[in-house]
């Protein structure tokens, strides 16, 4: 996929070039080159601490990087957080779902979802509420709209978080281990909602340990090892016939249990 230089290929919506990031002396991301096409679902796997979360957090500027360059939908991020207006633009166009949901506990479910469209996009309250209700219905929690996040189960909270991100009508969705904090019986409902989103053609970058899900929805799987892209390709290649040692070791560990 990343060798595909033909002009007929759609312009990438995300483009990382030689991105390097350090936490002090620790080299967290090493020369990351990555392009994601519109509509593509990219699943990023790797051991904890390999840099996979850091990678997607660089894309919406929650982490700064020190070298290289990132372009998201024509907006350019530069090293050391020098972006200004571009960063704001990117965050408006890129949604994110977090491992810990990060819903706003002081706001109702409906207000969680309608806040950003009103404050960032300048929608009227009526429009924002209407969209919020439609999205909550879509993720199957319209009957909980008046409740506060603390009154919902983890699975419900994560689906609200998904609706909240979608309310901004993002062009790209980032998922940072969206099911890792969930009880096992709630993982399915969140994956279902994500599966449906993928089917509708959303561009998605997903950090996850759910290999079955990766195999099913991913157009491309990227395996990150010690801050580098160690292997990438279609899921059946990377997950079933991994070529290099770290990938094989990682997969044998996660698939065993």
């Amino acid at each position: 996929m990343n060798q595909d230089k033909s002009p007929s290929a759609a312009d990438p919506i995300v483009c990382l070039e030689k991105v390097n990031k350090f936490f002090g002396d620790l080299h967290v991301l090493k020369d990351i080159d990555l392009k994601v096409s519109p509509g593509e679902v990219v699943v990023i796997v790797g051991a904890s601490g390999s840099g996979k979360s850091t990678l997607i957090r660089c894309i919406n500027g929650l982490e700064e990087f020190q070298q290289g360059h990132i372009e998201v939908d024509g907006n350019e991020l530069l090293p050391h957080g020098k972006a200004g207006q571009a960063l704001q633009k990117i965050r408006t166009e890129v949604g994110m779902v977090f491992q810990q949901f990060n819903l706003f506990p002081h706001l109702s479910v409906l207000d969680n979802v309608s806040l950003a469209p009103m404050k960032v996009r300048g929608w009227s309250r009526a429009d924002a509420i209407e969209t919020a209700e439609r999205l909550l219905e879509r993720v199957g929690i319209s009957d909980q709209a008046a409740k506060h996040p603390g009154q919902l189960s983890g699975g419900q909270q994560q689906r609200v978080a998904l609706a909240r991100a979608l309310a901004m009508e993002p062009r790209l969705m980032l998922f940072d281990e969206p099911t890792s904090a969930l009880d096992p019986e709630m993982i399915g409902e969140v994956l279902d909602a994500m599966r449906e989103l993928a089917r509708e053609g959303m561009t998605m970058m997903i950090v996850t340990h759910e290999m079955g899900f990766a195999r099913e929805v991913a157009d491309r799987v990227i395996f990150i090892h010690q801050g580098e892209i160690a292997e990438e390709g279609p899921p059946e290649e990377v997950l079933d016939r991994p070529r290099n040692k770290p990938t094989q070791q990682f997969l044998s560990r996660v698939l065993k249990h």
């Binding site: 810990q100 506060h148 009154q151």
Partner: protein, 223 residues
């Protein structure tokens, strides 16, 4: 033991109307000072956690100075000291309010800092990731949550400051203690009158505790 002293209930009750005249001053100094102190606390509490040292250092200096010196010394300095600088007298009521303001402001700065810093990092990240500006994230996400967590500590500070105003009898403001002293000077019922003074303070602080508990209870819904 020769117990001849009788608690004179009549004298105690008789002092109440005179003591009540001090209550408006006590309340005005307390709540006027606290209101200004709250604004100071928000400002300096936020400066205190600024990423810029040139904003942080003055805030730290202010907090340490006004937290580390007695409020009695502060009010004496304002009432007797500052006029020498300014060349004119300062109204005792104004001096009292100012002393409570700068003193409680220092403590409230720390309460604000602690409240804001207690909000999980993920809240800020979620706000920013939705495209909210840093200012919007603070205003709609961080601050409302921080404020709720600050209520118990703010209540504490309110009660402390109300009691601190009792020291301001030294600058002659006709607040509760001052009224008591004046009354005792003519009737010599120290036991009865100071007991009444104490009960009136208790009435004020208990009302505040009660009001804050209601506020907290309402604030907790949905957390």
């Amino acid at each position: 033991m020769d117990v001849t002293f009788q608690f004179d209930w009549q004298a105690a009750f008789a002092s109440i109307p005179f003591l009540l005249e001090g209550i408006p001053y006590t309340l005005l100094i307390s709540f006027g000072g606290l209101a200004i102190g709250f604004l100071i606390g928000i400002l300096f509490g936020l400066l205190r956690i600024s990423p810029f040292a040139w904003l942080r250092i003055p805030a730290v200096a202010y907090i340490e100075i006004f937290r580390g010196t007695p409020v009695l010394v502060q009010v004496l300095f304002i009432f007797y000291g500052l006029p020498q600088l300014l060349g004119g007298p300062i109204n005792a009521l104004v001096a009292g309010i100012a002393a409570i303001a700068v003193n409680s402001g220092a403590y409230i700065s720390e309460i604000v800092r602690g409240g804001v810093q207690s909000i999980e990092r993920g809240q800020r990240e979620a706000g920013l990731s939705l495209g909210l500006s840093r200012r919007q994230t603070f205003r709609y996400i961080i601050w409302p949550q921080a404020l709720r967590r600050m209520i118990p500590a703010l209540g504490n500070q309110g009660i402390i400051s109300i009691k601190d105003t009792s020291l301001f009898s030294v600058i002659g403001v006709g607040e509760l203690v001052r009224q008591g002293q004046v009354y005792i000077a003519t009737t010599f019922n120290a036991l009865e009158v100071y007991l009444m003074v104490a009960l009136l303070y208790l009435a004020i602080t208990l009302s505040l505790s009660f009001a804050l508990r209601q506020l907290e209870r309402r604030g907790l819904v949905g957390q």
